[in-house]
Each structure stands twice: as structure tokens, then as C-alpha cells.
């Protein structure tokens, strides 16, 4: 956390900084840096640890509601103590490692996975003054750390010495690298428009309003909306969430790369998956939804971190809702969607963003032309490629039903 707060800001905006200074203010300088850093790391871990706990509960509650059943309701009011009960259960479950497994890799896989997914939290700006570290190449760092988790998933599948786990790991790798591309390509236009790789810079570039009404968020441009959609679909696939949960397709692969994991190691995998989902949603908020910026000038009195949390929770609710709605894809549909639809769309989107950036000086009727061209560039490839995606795949007919 950095950047000295100016006194003109509201008390709530500065509250996290004041709290930090109250705790570490008396320390001499080198120790103070260490204490401040540790404090912000512990804060990130505590907030996202609790978010993880209650997200699992919210997910089960919402899935229950969607499927017309109450969901967990025995532990505490509305099942509020369920995450803690689950945690204690995981802790007391025996950790069974197969004799044939590669013991070292089997142990290292969950540790690597969780460590890497925690590392991605380091560069997200959670509020005006709440960014753990300001890097010039923050976005690159984020996606590098995120992409390295793929290695840990393959490690888990390979080390288990289990046929299902190995098959699932192969599949997971094919899925994750396929969707890594649209994920990476969809944020390049944002970098192109804002001219920076720093997350604070990208959020700052989205500040301000047009006619005091429409925020300058990237999602409100044609290419930004397309990029956001591509990013979110890829984020769903990257976090192994339904409808892209093929690596853990229970009906085919038992539990995929998690088959031979039990006890607390399983809990670490589970945690890493939710951390990954939270980090990708946080990055989507930062890149496309204006980060911690308020949507309207009159709403600026609400502290920035509340806006960030609101946007993040909305996206996470979307993840859960999609899980409750869509059935799982087949592996051929999955790779086709990535390579024949999302990657070309993201490439075209890059061109659209370049056009948008080059014509930013146009005004009056030319502004209308600019919007029209950009909309055609977004919608045209979408319709054309979408037609190719379903070519030869008519709706299923039931002859004897």
C-alpha cells in the first residue's frame, strides 16, 4: 500500500491507511516497511480467505435455491457456520497418499498451486490507496503468475499415478492453454488504449465521466464490451468453472486431477480454485469495469474499496449463476470455441481498438461514423464466426422420443 492520502478525502477513504499507521507508526524505518508489507499481505489473505469461505456457502445456497431446495441450513443461522464446519472436517480427514504416487510431487502440487494463486493478488488495486504493490508491468506479472498454475495442475495429475488423474491433467492442460490465448489477447486492447501495463495506471485512465453521466470505463466502448465478454468466457474456462469444468467431469473422470487427493490437500486445491476465480474477476474489474471508480459523480462519497468489492461480488455472482444454468461442454466443443471463435474475435478486437484509438480526434458526424465502424467490426466477425461455430451441428432431433 502506498501513495500518501490527501486530507481532503473522506475519513472512510483513508481509514485503512490510518489503521495501518496506527499499528505500525511507532516503528523505525526499515522495520516499518517490513511491518507495513506484512500487514498488507495478511490483510489480503484474511479478506480473500474469508471471501473464499463465504463464497462456498453462497454458492451452495444459491445453487440450492435455483434447484428448489434450501441448501446448507443446519450449522448456524442460514448455515453461516458451514464453511468452518467444512474446514474442521477437512483438517481431521486422513491424508491418503497412494503407494505408487510420486510422493514429493504429490505434496508439492497443492502448495505450488495455492502459492501461485495467492501471488496473483499482489497487483490488483482494491481501492484508491489499496494496492499491495505498484509494478510497471503489473498486468504481465498477474498473467504470468496465473499461467504458472497450469503447471501445478499437471503436476497433481502426473504425480497421482492414476489413469483418470493423468487423463484429466492432459485435458486440463489442453483447455487451460487454449483459453489462455483469448484471455491474453483480450486485454491487449486495454493496454493499447491506456498506454500502460500498470494496474493503477489502467484504473486511473478510466476515471471521469462524459456529460457527468457515463463513466469512462473501457466496457462502455464497442471493443471494450467485446473484450470484456471474451475475457469473462476465458476466465470461466481458466478457473475450471462450469460450463468448462471438464478437468473435473465427475461422470467421466471421477474427480480429475483431484482423485487421489484427500484431507487438507484437497482443501488447498479447492481454495486455489476459488482464489483464482476471485483474482481473475478482480482483474476483469480493474481492466474493464473501472476498478475502484464510482459509476456516478454523486456516488463518489462511498469509499473506493466498497465499489471494488461490489463489482467483484457481482462478477462472482455471475460465475455462480452461470454454473447453475449451463450444462457442461464436450471437449471438442470446448477447443473449437477457443480456437475458432474466441482467438479470431480477440485478434479482430485488437484491430478495432487500434482504429478506435487512432480516430479519437474525430467529432460531430465523424463520431457517429466511428461508432458505426467499430460496432460493425465487433458484431460482424461475431455473427460470421458464430455461424461457422454451429455449422453442421443442427439441433438434436429425437426420433423415437
Amino acid at each position: 500500500m502506498s501513495a500518501a492520502a490527501t486530507t481532503s478525502e473522506s475519513f472512510l477513504e483513508r481509514a485503512p491507511l490510518l489503521l495501518r499507521d496506527a499499528v505500525t507508526g511507532f516503528l523505525p524505518e526499515p522495520a516499518r516497511w517490513l511491518a507495513n508489507s506484512l500487514l498488507s499481505i495478511v490483510a489480503v489473505l484474511a479478506v480473500f480467505g474469508l471471501l473464499f469461505a463465504f463464497l462456498t456457502l453462497a454458492e451452495r445456497k444459491i445453487l440450492g435455491r435455483v434447484q428448489n431446495r434450501p441448501g446448507p441450513n443446519r450449522t448456524g443461522w442460514f448455515g453461516l457456520l458451514q464453511p468452518f464446519a467444512d474446514g474442521i472436517k477437512m483438517l481431521t480427514k486422513e491424508d491418503i497418499v497412494p503407494r505408487a504416487a510420486d510422493q514429493l510431487l504429490h505434496f508439492l502440487a497443492p502448495v505450488t498451486l495455492l502459492a501461485l494463486s495467492i501471488l496473483t493478488f499482489a497487483v490488483i488495486p482494491y481501492g484508491r490507496h489499496l494496492v499491495p504493490v505498484e509494478l510497471d508491468s503489473a498486468v504481465l506479472y498477474f498473467f504470468a503468475a496465473g499461467a504458472a498454475t497450469e503447471l501445478a495442475i499437471f503436476m497433481a495429475g502426473w504425480a497421482s499415478h492414476n489413469k483418470y488423474a493423468l487423463l484429466a491433467a492432459m485435458r486440463a492442460l489442453a483447455q487451460l492453454i487454449s483459453y489462455e490465448l483469448p484471455l491474453l489477447l483480450s486485454f491487449v486492447p486495454v493496454v493499447l488504449a491506456t498506454g500502460t501495463l500498470s494496474t493503477t495506471g489502467i484504473v486511473a485512465a478510466q476515471g471521469g465521466w462524459k456529460w457527468h453521466l457515463i463513466p469512462h470505463w473501457i466496457v462502455f466502448t464497442p471493443w471494450g464490451a467485446a473484450g470484456f465478454a471474451i475475457f469473462m468466457v476465458s476466465a470461466l474456462a481458466e478457473s475450471n468453472r462450469s460450463p468448462f469444468d471438464l478437468p473435473e467431469a465427475e461422470s467421466e473422470l471421477i474427480a480429475g486431477h483431484l482423485t487421489e487427493y484427500s484431507g487438507f490437500k484437497y482443501a488447498l486445491f479447492f481454495m486455489a480454485e476459488y482464489f483464482g476465480m476471485c483474482a481473475l474477476s478482480g482483474m476483469a474489474v480493474t481492466l474493464f469495469l473501472g476498478g475502484w471508480q464510482a459509476p456516478l459523480p454523486v456516488l463518489e462519497f462511498i469509499p473506493s474499496y466498497v465499489w471494488f468489492a461490489g463489482k467483484l461480488l457481482t462478477l462472482l455472482l455471475g460465475f455462480i449463476w452461470i454454473r447453475a444454468t449451463l450444462p457442461r461442454l464436450r471437449i471438442d466443443q470446448l477447443t473449437r470455441l477457443a480456437w475458432k471463435f474466441l482467438v479470431p474475435l480477440a485478434l479482430v478486437n485488437l484491430g478495432t481498438a487500434a482504429f478506435w484509438s487512432l480516430t479519437s480526434a474525430w467529432s460531430g458526424p465523424l463520431q457517429l461514423l466511428r461508432w458505426a465502424v467499430a460496432l460493425v467490426l465487433v458484431a460482424g466477425p461475431f455473427l460470421l464466426l458464430g455461424r461457422g461455430l454451429t455449422a453442421g451441428l443442427g439441433p438434436r432431433t429425437y426420433r423415437y422420443a
Binding site: S37, D95, I118, H161, L181, T335
Partner: protein, 123 residues
């Protein structure tokens, strides 16, 4: 005091690795003192739907996936080259833009080629 950002990242990495290790240690302590492990011949066998596992699973595997990996590698490097270009986009001369356009089109052509050869079909 403003130390290098990587100093913070190193600290973050240390805590990030320590976090799962501490939790696994707590779990191990629990087994050590309250709930000793009871390994067994069947219990510690590889899980294959309840029947005795047959054969080895570390065998030569039909990895159709390698084509995706090669394609991924090409495009991943492309994105790395795109980023510095994108950061400086507004200050680039027209010649640089054309060069970058040629670069992107060459790679897009690679995708079209793979598409036509049917390498993107799942077999």
C-alpha cells in the same frame, strides 16, 4: 523509504508459500497426536472405481494435445511482442504500425493455415 517493488513481491512469495505449508503442518500435527494414520494395502492403492488397479498409468500417451501446445506457444510469444507495441501505440510512427500489422497478419495466417489443415479439430 521506498524499497524496490520486487522486495515486496519476494516477501509476498515467501508468505504465499508459507501459507499452505503451515496449514499442511497443522493437519499433520493433528494426525501425529490425535488421529494416527492407518495405512492399508487397499486403502493406499491407486483409485480405479474400487477394483484392483491394472497396469501402469505412466505409459506412452496419445498426445494429440501437442499441436495445441505448439500453436499456443506461437501465440503466447506473439502476445509478449504485442505488449510493448500496445504500450507505445499512440506515439508510434505509421511505418511501425504497418510493420506490426504485417507481424500480426503473418501469425493470423498461421492460425488460418492450421484451421484449414484441420489441426484445430478434436480427434
Amino acid at each position: 523509504m521506498h524499497p524496490h517493488p520486487y522486495a515486496f513481491l519476494t516477501l509476498f512469495a515467501v508468505v504465499a508459500v508459507a501459507f499452505p505449508l503451515v496449514m499442511l503442518t497443522v493437519a499433520r500435527m493433528w494426525f501425529r497426536f490425535f488421529q494416527p494414520a492407518k495405512p492399508g494395502l487397499d486403502k493406499n492403492a491407486v483409485y480405479e472405481c474400487g477394483v484392483a488397479p491394472t497396469g501402469d498409468s505412466w505409459i506412452q500417451f496419445k498426445a494429440h494435445y501437442y499441436l495445441y501446445a505448439i500453436l499456443f506457444l506461437i501465440f503466447d510469444v506473439e502476445v509478449l511482442f504485442l505488449l510493448p507495441f500496445a504500450v507505445n501505440f499512440t506515439s508510434l510512427p505509421a511505418g511501425a504500425l504497418l510493420a506490426m500489422l504485417a507481424f500480426i497478419l503473418l501469425l493470423a495466417e498461421g492460425l488460418v493455415w492450421a484451421w484449414h489443415r484441420g489441426h484445430l479439430e478434436w480427434k
